[in-house]
Each structure stands twice: as structure tokens, then as C-alpha cells.
């Protein structure tokens, strides 16, 4: 039986504030255990939370970024359960009245189309600490540095029907939050964590099947694999006439399976109730407009502008936009005089390849936008052939100067002087009488193929500097004259 996959995603996003959501401890990564955990974070007796204004602003920014309704009066609630990395024995979260209410997020798919995902809500909460299981033989170590880091939990409706959609959503979310500057959205580092709620149903059915929750999947690839392996598992059970147990599972990347979480077997009744140590967050229209005024151009708008103003196709636009710095670089290249389409090609091709090969981020790029623009201009004006352009690119990367300097220094100027080229063509024809005879004896189709030999020889003789289009024209004319 072929089943339809129905999924909803819950993403926990660490907000990039300087201090924690309820205390003044630093949120910076990398401190020694418990050196960034103050009395409030540790849940010491008598300690009380005070709300970080930036966490509120970031949440509102997100809400506006997805066009959601902002909760004018949101409330914190206590989510009660026992776990050693949860110091107070409850997590301060928002259950009854979240700060961001319903919205729709348009996700660009690979084919360039937009897929609307309904966001149910997004709410603020505090992160828990970390349990370290393998540092001590018979104990688990608890590090509370992370406890109290602000999180935004983003919940979608069960609108996903495929792993591709889920991954596209996560990528788009990553893009949006980095544009907004509210998080670095890094799954591998844990600043963006994904839980997947997945159930299967017969195609065409409206009812929802029993779902399982796959927790804390930390890469796009694992999300895809986890969904596929859980689909297989559930499909097998349903095909065999069995039923799905509602439970929490973890994705085991090594075995490529999902496993039931033993520790979550004890049914958790979270007993949510309004947090009495905090008061309702009241947000007025003025505040919302003030935050709206600080929003940057968002990915969706930028994609639209790139296709409209630069004439890029959807595919290229979709590749340039997600990484803000890359999109900015592109625009800087164009502003410096590089033509848009070639600029897109270079950036998405050789430039990105070089960044990856050297494992550096675009912000550390040795080629400035102006330099790349210079290279493109020289190709467009015929000074440089496309083939030799790559050498110039390498020269730019190595810091040999800008395009003109490199062309000069390496003598890479394309030869476009008709007289010089004619001499080269005549020389090659004279040197290769057998090939000329073959050519003259061949039909049109074969001639096209054979002309490549002559062009190749001329390019070799000219060390690639001959202007290939002109060579071709002159060659065909001269060969014709031979007959």
C-alpha cells in the first residue's frame, strides 16, 4: 500500500542575544562547564527571572518576517517535569498565549515554486542545560551553561507531505532567521533543532493517523533520512495490519533507523500553569511598527527583486538569496560594473567552488566584488577569452592584483587583431595539408567536427589567447577559399 506522509515540524531556535532570557549570564559558546551559569540559571533558592528585551524583539521580528499575528498580551507558563539538566524542575515556556500567533511561511522549493506552510505559533522559552554521559564512568555530568539561553519554538501545522518539503522549509527558515539577525540557525551546532511529528494515512483520506515524534534531528540530511526511515517503519507496521504507538523516537544516523526513547516512556503530564514570577508581556502597535521598521529586505522579496531587476532566472535567484552575504556580494559585483548573468554564473560556479575548497566563508574572500566585476568586464569586452578567464580568476584569488594587472603580467590578452589571426590561420592550414584535404572532402556535418582540430591547433599555438570566435570565422573562410 502506498501511504501519504503527513508531517508537522517543531523547530527550536536559539536566539542570538548577548545574555540569557531570564538572567544576565553570557550566552557565548565554549565556556568551561558551569562557568556561565549564575544563581538564577541554577535555580537556586529564592532566585527570580527577569525578561530580556532583545529576546522579545527577536520574537516579534520573526513574527513579522512570516507575516504572523503578534500576540499583544502573551504570558509565560511553567512546564513541569524532572530531568537533571532542568534546574528548576520546570521550564519557563509559553503555552496558553504565545508571543507569535498564526502566520504563513512561503517556502521556495527546488523547482522554484513557492509552497505555503502554515505556522501555528512561535513562542519564547528557556533552553535546558546539557547532560554529558560519556565523561564519567558511572555518572552523568550536568553542565548548566546552556540553561536559560533564549529559544524560539516554531510550530507548523501538519502541512508537509514529503521529506523534500521539510528540508526546503528548514533551509528557508535558516535563511530567514539569518537575514533577520536573530539566530545563526546552525543545525550542526545546535542553534536550530528540529523535531518531526510524522504519521501516515491512506491517500485521499482526511483523517490523521497516529503520529510519532522524532526529536532533535540535527542536519538537513538526517532530517531527510529520518523521515524516510520512519516512513518505512510505519508503512511496514500498517501494511501488516498493526497500529502505530504514539511515542517519542530518536534518529540513529549510524544505523539509519529511528529508536524509541526509553526515558520518555513515563507519560509526562506537564501541568502547565501561568508563571507567577513573571507578568504578561504587553506589546502595542507602536512597538510592533518600530520593530517592523528595522526589518531588512527579506529573502522572498529579494528573490523577486533579483529576477525582476537583474533578469536572473528563478533557479539562480534561489541559489543566490539564502546566504545573505552571498546575495550582497552579487549585488556589489553588479554595482561595480559586472553584468548580472555572468556575475551569477561566476559566483555560483568557480567562486563558490573556491570558497568550499579552501573552507572559508565568503566574508573572508580574497577576491573583492570590485575585482570580480573587473574580471567579468574584461570577458564581456573581449579582452579575455572565457578559457583564460579561469587563470585570471586563480590569479585574483592568489592576490596577484586585479584583473588588468594579471592579464598584463601573464600576457593573457586575447588576440583579436584580424591580421595576426589571419597569419595564424594560414600557418595552420599550411602546416596540415592532410587534414585540409580531409576537411574539403567531408560533408557539412563532418566539416563542423573537423574544424575543431584546426581551432585547437591555433589555440595551442597562441597559448589560448586567440579570440576563438574570430578564429572560427577566419578559418571557415580560409578553408572555403582552399576549395
Amino acid at each position: 500500500m502506498s501511504w501519504e506522509t503527513v508531517m508537522g515540524l517543531e523547530v527550536h531556535l536559539q536566539l542570538a542575544t548577548q545574555s540569557k532570557i531570564f538572567s544576565g549570564s553570557a550566552t557565548a559558546f565554549g565556556a568551561a562547564p558551569n562557568e556561565q551559569a549564575d544563581a538564577v540559571d541554577l535555580g537556586m533558592p529564592g532566585m527570580l527571572p527577569v525578561l530580556n528585551e532583545e529576546a522579545v524583539r527577536y520574537a516579534v521580528k520573526f513574527g513579522l518576517g512570516i507575516g504572523a499575528r503578534i500576540g499583544e498580551r502573551s504570558v509565560f507558563d511553567r512546564k513541569n517535569y524532572f530531568y537533571p539538566d532542568l534546574p528548576k524542575g520546570y521550564q519557563v515556556s509559553q503555552f496558553f498565549a504565545p508571543i507569535v500567533c498564526e502566520g504563513v511561511f512561503e517556502v521556495p522549493l527546488e523547482d522554484g515554486s513557492l509552497f505555503p506552510i502554515r505556522i501555528t505559533r512561535a513562542h519564547l522559552e528557556e533552553d535546558a542545560g546539557k547532560s554529558v554521559h560519556d565523561a564519567f564512568s558511572r555518572e552523568t555530568g550536568i553542565d548548566l551553561n546552556r540553561a536559560g539561553t533564549p529559544l524560539l519554538e516554531i510550530v507548523t501545522e501538519p502541512d508537509f507531505r514529503s521529506a523534500e518539503q521539510a528540508v526546503a522549509y528548514l533551509k528557508a527558515l535558516h535563511s530567514l532567521v539569518t537575514y533577520l539577525g536573530i539566530s545563526d540557525g546552525n543545525m550542526a551546532e545546535g542553534s536550530m533543532r528540529c523535531d518531526i511529528n510524522i504519521s501516515l494515512r491512506e491517500k485521499g483520506s482526511d483523517a490523521l493517523g497516529t503520529r510519532t515524534e522524532i526529536k532533535n534531528v540535527n542536519s538537513f540530511r538526517f532530517v531527510e533520512r529520518a523521515i524516510h526511515s520512519e516512513y518505512e517503519r510505519q508503512a511496514d507496521i500498517l501494511d501488516g495490519g498493526g497500529s502505530i504507538i504514539q511515542e517519542t523516537r530518536l534518529y540513529d544516523a549510524e544505523q539509519n533507523v529511528t529508536r524509541s526513547m526509553r526515558s520518555k516512556e513515563v507519560a509526562n503530564d506537564y501541568r502547565y500553569f501561568p508563571e507567577p514570577d513573571l507578568l504578561p508581556i504587553v506589546i502595542d502597535a507602536e512597538y510592533i511598527e518600530a520593530v517592523r521598521a528595522t526589518l531588512p529586505e527579506l529573502p522572498g522579496a529579494k528573490r523577486a527583486r533579483f529576477t525582476a531587476d537583474y533578469g536572473l532566472n528563478d533557479y539562480d535567484a534561489a541559489l543566490l538569496v539564502p546566504h545573505h552575504a552571498l546575495a550582497d556580494y552579487f549585488e556589489a559585483v553588479v554595482a561595480a560594473g559586472g553584468a548580472a548573468k555572468p556575475a551569477a554564473n561566476w559566483i555560483l560556479g568557480d567562486f563558490t567552488a573556491a570558497l568550499n575548497r579552501n573552507e572559508i566563508d565568503i566574508t573572508a574572500s580574497p577576491i573583492s566584488a570590485a575585482q570580480l566585476a573587473g574580471l567579468i568586464a574584461r570577458i564581456e569586452d573581449g579582452t579575455l577569452s572565457s578559457k583564460l578567464a579561469k587563470q585570471v580568476f586563480d590569479g585574483l584569488w592568489a592576490g596577484e592584483g586585479d584583473a588588468d594587472q594579471i592579464i598584463e603580467a601573464r600576457g593573457l590578452k586575447q588576440v583579436s587583431d584580424t591580421g595576426a589571426l589571419e597569419s595564424m590561420v594560414e600557418a595552420v592550414i599550411a602546416d596540415n595539408p592532410d587534414q585540409v584535404s580531409q576537411y574539403l572532402a567531408a560533408d557539412e556535418a563532418k566539416q563542423k567536427k573537423l574544424s575543431g582540430f584546426f581551432v585547437g591547433q591555433i589555440m595551442k599555438a597562441s597559448k589560448g589567447q586567440a579570440n576563438p570566435q574570430m578564429v572560427n570565422e577566419l578559418l571557415l573562410k580560409k578553408l572555403k577559399d582552399q576549395s
Binding site: 544576565g24 552523568t140 555530568g141
Partner: protein, 95 residues
């Protein structure tokens, strides 16, 4: 509203309290008395009343996003029942 010993045991588990077999009947009985007291609430109609979490109509104040904490680990962990290399220790947890 009366409660059974099983109800009490379920609640005790949620609260991580251990009640011995021998104590359970008395704990249940006394617990039941408190619930009896509380059942008075059923006799009042509060259909349209907004629940009150805080006695005054105050809003949450916001704190600027500045780091005011400092490393006070030594002092704060001085009371820790078990620690090593800066970690709090608990019996090993299997996830």
C-alpha cells in the same frame, strides 16, 4: 471528591515523592480531606470571570540585553552534593 490510593500514587510519581505501602492509606485519607475542603469551589459560578494570576494589573518589565553575570562557579557549586571537573554529577542516565 474522593481519591483512591492509586490516584495518590500517580500524583506522587509526578512529584517524585515516594510513599511507602504502609503510609499510603493515611496519606490518601489526609489528602482526601484537603480535597474535600477544596471542593467548596464547585459551588460558585465563575463562567465569565477572568482567572487572576497576579493581584495587580502589572505588565512585565524588560531588562536590557547586557551581560551582567560573571563566573561564580566556585561559590555556587560549594553546596553541590556531587561534582567533578566543574560538572554536577548524578547517577548515569541512559537516554
Amino acid at each position: 471528591m474522593s481519591v483512591s490510593p492509586q490516584d495518590v500514587e500517580k500524583v506522587a510519581l509526578l512529584a517524585r515523592l515516594a510513599i511507602s505501602e504502609s503510609d499510603l492509606p493515611e496519606v490518601t485519607e489526609r489528602f482526601g480531606r484537603v480535597l474535600g475542603l477544596v471542593d467548596e469551589l464547585n459551588t460558585i459560578d465563575t463562567e465569565t470571570v477572568v482567572p487572576m494570576s497576579n493581584p495587580h494589573d502589572m505588565h512585565q518589565r524588560l531588562r536590557p540585553d547586557t551581560v551582567t553575570g560573571r563566573n561564580d562557579r566556585e561559590n555556587l557549586m560549594a553546596s553541590a552534593p556531587a561534582q567533578e571537573q566543574g560538572y554536577f554529577l548524578v547517577p548515569k542516565v541512559i537516554d
